[in-house]
Structure formats: structure tokens, C-alpha cells
């Protein structure tokens, strides 16, 4: 008997077509107009962005569109140091949670045009949108967030959104 086989290769591939649903579609279409559309819960009045059509705490449908500003506050962040396959940006780079002005939950995006050592909670940031011809129903319509130059937001202004 020859050497036993130790491993076998069993690759798999499945193809899917996702549908965005109503709330996500409104949000994604808003991006093509450089609008950041959240939705407000009729019970707790919180504004969720990106919206998913329901309030995760109350479990009720959200239908009221609320336009948030494209400026906000960094509530937390992570400096990515590890390279991985398919990475679009060379590390180190900063991924940040940005509490947009008008929203009650933070949105996840990139933070650039700042030394990674300078990334901090409370930093005021603004979105850098792509040029008109690159606008698409995708979060990539915002290239990244960058410091807006304003003084840091006081901790009290975002401590309930951590």
C-alpha cells in the first residue's frame, strides 16, 4: 500500500445576486446625489444610518428619511497594520466609526489625509466625495473622511454613541 492520502482539495464556489431592499436602496441612491439619508424610528426617534428599514431596539419599521450632514465626529477607530489579500490600501491605514451630524449611530468608513498617529476620538471630519462621473449607488461614492479642521468635539457630545 502506498502512502495514504493526507489532504484533498475540495474548492467551492457559489454565486449570488443580492437585492438591497427598500431602505438600503434609498440610502444608496442618495449617495449618487451626495446625500446621506438615514431613517428615524417613530418610537424612540433615533436616526439610523445606513438605514435597514427597522429600528434595532424597538423592532418597528422606520420610514421617515432624515438627511444627515456629510460632516461628523470620530467615535472610535482602528489602525490596520496587517496586509491581507485583496486589500485596497497599503497598511497602515485607519478605519473609523464616524457619527455624522444628525445621526444617532456611527457609520464605518476610512480616515485619510492624516498621520495614523493623529487619529483620535472626537476628531471632526468631513467626507471627500468622488467626482460626478464616479458617483454610484455605493459607499465608495465617498472616497474617505478627512479632518475638517474644526476643534475636536467634546466627549459629552458623543459619549452616548460609543
Amino acid at each position: 500500500m502506498s502512502d495514504p492520502v493526507m489532504v484533498i482539495a475540495t474548492p467551492i464556489r457559489l454565486d449570488y445576486t443580492y437585492t438591497a431592499g427598500q431602505a438600503s436602496s434609498r440610502f444608496l441612491r442618495g449617495l449618487t446625489e451626495r446625500k446621506l439619508l438615514g431613517q428615524r424610528c417613530p418610537e424612540c426617534r433615533k436616526v439610523y444610518i445606513p438605514p435597514r428599514g427597522s429600528c434595532p431596539t424597538c423592532g418597528v419599521p422606520t420610514a421617515e428619511d432624515v438627511e444627515c450632514k456629510d460632516t461628523g465626529t470620530v467615535t472610535t477607530f482602528c489602525v490596520v497594520n496587517i496586509p491581507f489579500p485583496g486589500q485596497a490600501i497599503r497598511p497602515p491605514f485607519v478605519a473609523a466609526s464616524v457619527l455624522l451630524d444628525g445621526a444617532d449611530i456611527a457609520l464605518f468608513h476610512l480616515l485619510q489625509e492624516v498621520d495614523v498617529q493623529q487619529a483620535r476620538m472626537g476628531m471632526r471630519v468631513e467626507a471627500l466625495w468622488v467626482p460626478d462621473e464616479e458617483l454610484r449607488p455605493s459607499m465608495e461614492s465617498i472616497r474617505y473622511f478627512r479632518p475638517s479642521g474644526e476643534p475636536d468635539a467634546p466627549y459629552a457630545s458623543y459619549k452616548d454613541h460609543l
Binding site: 492520502v5 484533498i8 482539495a9 467551492i12 449570488y16 445576486t17
Partner: protein, 147 residues
Amino acid sequence: MPEPLTAPHVLEYPYTRSVGPVMGAFFAALRERRIVGVRGSDGRVIVPPQEYDPTTSEALGELADVADAGTVTAWTWISAPRPKHPLQRPFAFALIRLDGADTAMLHAVDAGEEQVMRTGMRVRACWREEPRGDIHDIACFEREPEP
């Protein structure tokens, strides 16, 4: 309502699986164009081999050679093969009980036409040109000519 937004998504994993000594012996035999099963607690030969008896849960390890030919115990004719199917011309998936085995294994039968398929027909393994030690070393089964 505007057109719904859709986006493609591909789930793809390369997966390499460690097979252990029992399955490893089966795949090693395939690489040599042989088929082996394992003896169950009651002595019946299980093909393809399992590490534990399905009834008693006893650990199994006694290998038994079986033929590379056997009998179809169930079949279905696939007139329009799907992209991931093992053959891209009409064929049958079948459960095949090899001579010497007490259980059937699933594979493809390249029978040519639906009319010749029947439960009880005799088939023989058709081996891949360069066996590698996986289930595809059996490229398919073919009908054995009637005696």
C-alpha cells in the same frame, strides 16, 4: 417604485481537507485505481469507508478490497447537466453497489442514453488519466456490456 438595486456576490473557498487514515486509505487506493471499503461492526463492507459504524458507533479500521465494478441500485437521468455537474453531456447520477460492498456509493454513469439505464444494470469505473487521490479519480462509471 424605482428599479431594485442588485449586486453580485461570489462565495468562494479553496478548502483543503485533511482526511485521516480511513478516508486517506480510500483515496490512496483510488490513486492506484483500486477501491477499498471498511468492515462495519457486523462485518458488512461499507463503501466509501466511514470512520465509525453508523449503528454501533464503534471505531472502524479494517479495510476490505472491493471491485471497481458493480450494480446500480438507484439512478436519475440528467438530460440537461448543470454547470457544476461532473459530466457536461446527458448522464445519470446513480447509487452503485460495487461487488464486495454492502453499501452503495454515489457517482455519475456515462451511459450515453436514458433508455439503457435501469436499476440492476452493471457498471464499471472509468479511471482518470492521472489519478490524484480524490473522488474524481473515478471520472465516471460506464455500462458493462451485457454478457
